[in-house]
C-alpha cells in the first residue's frame, strides 16, 4: 500500500509545476521516435508469427466437414484484435520499453542527474516522466494497430502456404460478421497498457537507490510489475467492457 501511495503521489507530481508546453513537445517527439523505432522490428516479428501460429493451430483443431474453412479467418481476426495484438504487444513492450525507461531513469538517479534537475528548479518527475508516458500513449496504439494487421496477415500467409484454406476463404472469413468495436477495444487496451507500462517502469527507475546492481534490479522489477499490471488490466477490461 505504501508503494501504491508513493506511485500515486509521483503521478500527481507530473502535473504540478510543469515547464512550458513547448519544452515537452520536443521531448515527446524524441521519446516517441525512440519507442517506435526501437520496438518496430520485435513487434513485427512477434505479431506475424503469432498470427501464423494461430491460423495453423486453428486449422488443425477445426478440421471438420461441418465447419466452413472461412471460420479460421474469423477466429484469427477475433483473437488477434481482441487479445493477441494488444496483450502480446503489451508484454513485449513491457520487456523492451519498460526496462529501457527504468534503466535510464535509474542511472540518471544514481549519477545525480535527477538531483541536478531539481536543484535547477526543474520538476524532474514531470520533465523526465511525462514525455515518456505521453509518447507511449501516442505510439502504443500505432504499434498495436500494426501488430493486428501483421497478425492477420501472418495468418493469411501461413493458412494459404500450408493449404489449410484458400486466400478467398481466409478473406471471406475475416470480413464475415466483423464488429468495428473490436478495433476500438484493442485501442482502449493499447492506451491502458501504454500508461501502465510507462508509468510503472518510470516509478521503479525514478526511485532507484544505490548503484549499478540496483539499476538492474529496478529494470527487472519494472518488467515484472508491468507484465502483471498488463495482465490484470487485460482481464478487468474484458470483464468491464465485453462481459454480458
Amino acid at each position: 500500500m505504501k508503494e501504491l501511495g508513493k506511485y500515486l503521489l509521483l503521478m500527481g507530481k507530473l502535473l504540478v509545476n510543469r515547464e512550458k508546453f513547448s519544452t515537452y513537445a520536443r521531448l515527446i517527439i524524441d521519446e516517441a521516435i525512440v519507442i517506435g523505432t526501437d520496438s518496430l522490428l520485435i513487434v513485427a516479428i512477434v505479431s506475424s508469427f503469432i498470427g501464423a501460429v494461430t491460423a495453423v493451430q486453428t486449422a488443425h483443431n477445426l478440421y471438420s466437414p461441418i465447419i466452413p474453412l472461412e471460420t479460421i479467418g474469423s477466429i484469427v481476426r477475433d483473437m488477434t484484435l481482441l487479445e493477441l495484438a494488444p496483450t502480446f504487444t503489451g508484454v513485449v513492450l513491457a520487456g523492451k520499453i519498460g526496462s529501457n525507461i527504468a534503466g535510464h531513469l535509474g542511472s540518471m538517479r544514481i549519477t545525480e542527474q535527477i538531483d541536478a534537475l531539481e536543484v535547477m528548479g526543474i520538476n524532474s518527475a514531470s520533465y523526465l516522466i511525462l514525455p515518456k508516458i505521453v509518447a507511449s500513449l501516442i505510439v502504443f496504439p500505432m504499434l498495436v494497430t500494426l501488430s493486428a494487421f501483421l497478425g492477420i496477415f501472418g495468418g493469411f500467409v501461413a493458412g494459404v502456404l500450408t493449404h489449410s484454406l484458400s486466400a478467398e476463404q481466409y478473406i471471406a472469413g475475416i470480413r464475415d460478421n466483423f464488429h468495428g468495436f473490436d478495433i476500438f477495444f484493442a485501442l482502449i487496451k493499447a492506451f491502458v497498457f501504454a500508461f501502465l507500462i510507462s508509468s510503472i517502469s518510470a516509478f521503479r527507475g525514478y526511485y532507484t537507490r544505490g548503484g549499478a546492481l540496483e539499476i538492474g534490479k529496478a529494470s527487472t522489477i519494472a518488467v515484472t510489475h508491468s507484465c502483471i499490471a498488463v495482465l490484470i488490466a487485460d482481464y478487468l477490461l474484458a470483464q468491464l467492457i465485453l462481459a454480458r
Binding site: 509545476n17 545525480e112 542527474q113 538531483d115 541536478a116 536543484v119
Partner: protein
C-alpha cells in the same frame, strides 16, 4: 547570504543533523568540512532542497527557502548553481548542450545567439572552449567538474554549491578547481558553499569554515585561525591530516 538555524534531519533511527545553525556570507568561499559520515553532504542537500529538513529554517538573502509553496522554492532554486561530486552531466548531451541546458529551459526569453554567446563565455571561463562538442564520456574527471562549474554559473547564479569538488582528482587538478571556485566567487560576488575534506582546499580557499562532527556544527572560523583551534574533534581531524603533527595537541 545564506542563514540556517536549528536544522535537524533524521534517516530512520539515525539523526544525521543535530540542531545545526550557521551563516554563509556573500562574496566568500564558505567551506563545510569534517570526516566522512558527519552529515556534510546531508546539510548541503538540505540547503539546496534535495532533502527536506525535519525542523529548522533556511533563508536565502532573507527569503525563506523551506516553505510549502513550490513556486517560491523554485524561484529561489533558479538562483542556485550546483557542482555535484561526479559532475552529474547529462550523458546524452554534449558539453555545450549540458551548459546550455539551464538556459534552454529557464531562460526562454534569450535568443539562440545570446545563449550560444553565454555558453561560449562560461566554457572559456573554465578553460574548456575547445571541448564543447565532446560528450561527457569523452572527457576526464577534472574536465567534467569544470563543465559542472560552467553549467552552475551559466544562469548567473547568486549561490554556488560544490559537493566535494576535489574528490577523485590529482593534486594539480584539485588546485585548478579550487582556484576556479575562488575566482568565480570573488568575480561574481556570489555566495559559495563547498563541502570538502581536502585540507589543501581548506587552507587555500577557506574564508569561512564550518567543521561538522557527528551531525553538529562544532567550530566555525577561517583558514587563518583553524590551526589554533582548541576543539578536540577538529584537532583530531587536523592531526589525521598531518597538519598539527609537530604541534603540541
Amino acid at each position: 547570504m545564506i542563514e540556517f538555524s536549528h536544522l535537524n534531519k533524521t534517516f530512520g533511527d539515525k539523526q544525521v543533523l543535530k540542531d545545526v545553525s550557521g551563516v554563509f556570507e556573500r562574496g566568500k568561499t564558505n567551506l563545510i568540512i569534517g570526516t566522512s559520515g558527519t552529515g556534510k553532504s546531508v546539510l548541503l542537500k538540505c540547503l539546496v532542497g534535495i532533502f527536506e529538513p525535519d525542523t529548522g529554517d533556511i533563508f536565502y538573502d532573507q527569503r525563506k527557502f523551506n516553505v510549502e509553496s513550490n513556486d517560491r522554492k523554485q524561484e529561489i532554486r533558479r538562483d542556485i548553481g550546483m557542482l555535484f561530486q561526479g559532475g552529474a552531466l547529462f550523458d546524452s548531451k554534449t558539453v555545450e548542450a549540458n551548459v546550455m541546458f539551464p538556459l534552454t529551459i529557464l531562460a526562454p526569453q534569450m535568443s539562440k545567439s545570446e545563449r550560444v554567446d553565454r555558453v561560449d563565455y562560461c566554457l572559456k571561463r573554465v578553460g574548456l572552449e575547445k571541448a564543447k562538442k565532446l560528450m561527457p564520456s569523452e572527457i576526464s574527471g577534472g574536465m567534467a567538474k569544470r563543465v559542472g562549474i560552467a553549467r552552475a554559473i551559466v544562469m548567473q547564479s547568486k549561490y554556488l554549491f560544490c559537493d566535494e569538488p576535489n574528490s577523485g582528482l590529482d593534486p594539480l587538478t584539485s588546485h585548478v578547481i579550487d582556484e576556479l571556485i575562488e575566482d568565480i566567487t570573488h568575480e561574481y560576488n556570489i555566495t559559495t558553499v563547498v563541502v570538502t575534506h581536502d585540507m589543501n582546499s581548506v587552507l587555500e580557499i577557506g574564508e569561512n569554515i564550518m567543521y561538522m562532527f557527528e551531525g553538529e556544527n562544532v567550530w566555525q572560523g577561517t583558514k587563518d585561525n583553524i590551526l589554533q583551534t582548541t576543539v578536540k574533534p577538529l584537532q583530531d581531524f587536523l592531526f589525521a591530516n598531518k597538519l598539527i603533527r609537530d604541534m603540541e595537541r
